[in-house]
């Protein structure tokens, strides 16, 4: 079994979310500041339009996650000068036009999903001045999500819903939803891929957890670090994940316990 983690998916509009996911399968969290759905360890949060709302939704999501390790995914609509409507892209670079800052999320999707630069703007862009994608949430999402995350925990997937020949101002929310719905299968496959990769990464960066019979002992922070080091040392040397149970006297001081562990685990001798 892999180390547990949460997957948080941030989407701007509920109709975009409905176009991609079967939200009936999710449980809605009532009385939350953002419309939020949960299915096991997956959270779908509807943030609303704009980077500030996206950032706020990320902060809110952190309070809901029960696991320390969180993988983040922003799904949404974007515009591009040339790309045809319905093209699915992933962000290789996110640039905020207001703050002049850049971020580089991971590009985890292999299935011919092009990695593009996404420029986040405050108001919808209509003339597509550069050969990049334009959206309104990605920079707010990543600025907050990257705190405490490695790049492999961050990904952004966008469906092109407007371009030069079909610009944003001529579109209704229905058309946007339709464009997203047409790509439902592709996007849900990408989410499943991302989950599978997340499980592998989570397993490789899982922290060392003290066995239950050591958790009640009140080690200092330094002692606790040494215990973790000893546990890892034992596992590497003995190639055994399960730690042998040690009988610890109730009256033993933390220093005595640590000495006992050093003796038994150092070098993997049990």
């Amino acid at each position: 079994m892999c180390y547990e983690f949460n997957l948080v998916i941030i989407i701007a509009y509920i109709r975009e979310a409905r176009a991609i996911f079967d939200l009936n399968r999710f449980e809605e969290i009532k009385d939350a500041p953002f419309i939020t759905f949960r299915e096991h360890k997956i959270l779908v949060i509807i943030c609303g339009q704009g980077r500030l709302r996206a950032a706020a939704a990320v902060s809110f999501a952190k309070t809901l996650c029960e696991y320390k390790l969180i993988f983040w995914l922003n799904i949404g609509a974007a515009g591009h000068r040339n790309l045809s409507i319905g093209t699915v892209v992933q962000a290789g670079k996110i640039y905020d036009l207001e703050t002049d800052r850049s971020w580089f999320p991971s590009t985890p999707f292999k299935k011919n999903i092009a990695a593009v630069e996404i420029n986040t703007c405050d108001i919808p862009i209509e003339n597509y001045p550069k050969d990049v994608c334009y959206d309104m949430e990605a920079s707010g999402f990543i600025e907050l999500a990257q705190i405490d995350s490695i790049p492999e925990q961050l990904a952004v997937v966008k469906v092109i819903t407007d371009n030069h020949s079909n610009p944003f101002r001529h579109q209704s929310i229905n058309e946007l939803e339709m464009s997203m719905r047409k790509k439902k299968n592709t996007v849900t496959t990408l989410v499943a891929d991302y989950m599978a990769q997340a499980a592998v990464i989570a397993d490789s960066i899982k922290p060392i957890i003290l066995p239950w019979w050591l958790r009640t002992i009140k080690f200092t922070a330094t002692q606790r670090n040494e215990v973790k080091h000893l546990i890892n040392n034992y596992r590497v040397q003995s190639k055994e994940q399960r730690l042998p149970f040690l009988k610890i006297s109730k009256t033993a001081s933390t220093r005595d316990v640590l000495n006992q562990l050093r003796q038994v685990w150092s070098g993997g001798n049990t």
Binding site: G92, K110, A115, D148, S149, P151, S204, I205, N232, V236
Partner: protein, 326 residues
Amino acid sequence: MAKTIFIEKKIFEHPRTTKILNVIKARNIIKIDHYGEIFNRNRQNFRIQKDNLNYIIATKKNNLVIPTPTSTTLVKGYYFSHMYNCIYDCDYCFLQGHFNSAYHVYFINYEDFEKAIVNESRKTKTKTWFFSGYDCDSLASEKITGFAEHFVPLFSRLENSILELRTKSSRTAELLKIKPNPNVVCAFSLNPQNIIDLFEKGTPSLSSRMRAVKSLSEKGWKIGLRFDPLILAARHKDDYLELFELAVNCIPKDSIHSVSIGSLRLSESHHKKMVKNDMRNQLLFDNQYSYKEKLWQGDSEIRDVEIWLSKRLKKLIPQSSIFLSE
């Protein structure tokens, strides 16, 4: 095929960029302002990136030629890096603790490196060593970088300077096409095959390295033999003795420019970061090694074996230089 190649905007159309892109077929290309935006980010995991490589093409502006650190080598000189990170994945490699990222960075402003090397070599009349292969393997990526092809001719013009190409690669095709240069030493890192199997993932076998050594020496190149790092347990003594003899007998003695031997050593900060990055690396948790004077190094038993081996090597090749950590 690489997943993503990040390229600095100002060199997007540079001929060397085009050449690299012809060799590494990229699925995605992203333009960036400076390689540090990606490479020097905090909170990256070297091990995860190593299994999922991306590439960066960049230019290096500062510290093009750097004095060698006195704590880890005897020879005074300079090192320079046309590339950051290595295609191999050796368990003991300090790069895992040195860089935040495992992505390969190719620096393509060779002309700036050239100027810096010429400047340093003009400062003194004594022989100056320039080492490549400190932050990467000198020859392993030759097909991509064309590094040796560019820099070997430079050193034939610099009479008081020696270039050491440190490598584990058996890739000699490009060097064999170039006229041998007496100011260039091809230095091969060697270890017994059982050590290669255990700790040098992805590197060529000992026999193919020896074949490379032989073909270069036959062509007239000066060869350096580097038994560095020694990874020792008492049971490996005989393996190393066999290796010394094999290496020395493989090539004529006059082709051997220098031989050196060095113990497994890491700075304390590198070791700590490596342990944090890779909790499953057995070598880093070896009980025979510990911190002494800011270095992670072997205990007295290991040092005894190293001293014994170095004496044997000295007997075999009297001109060999020994570097064992204190």
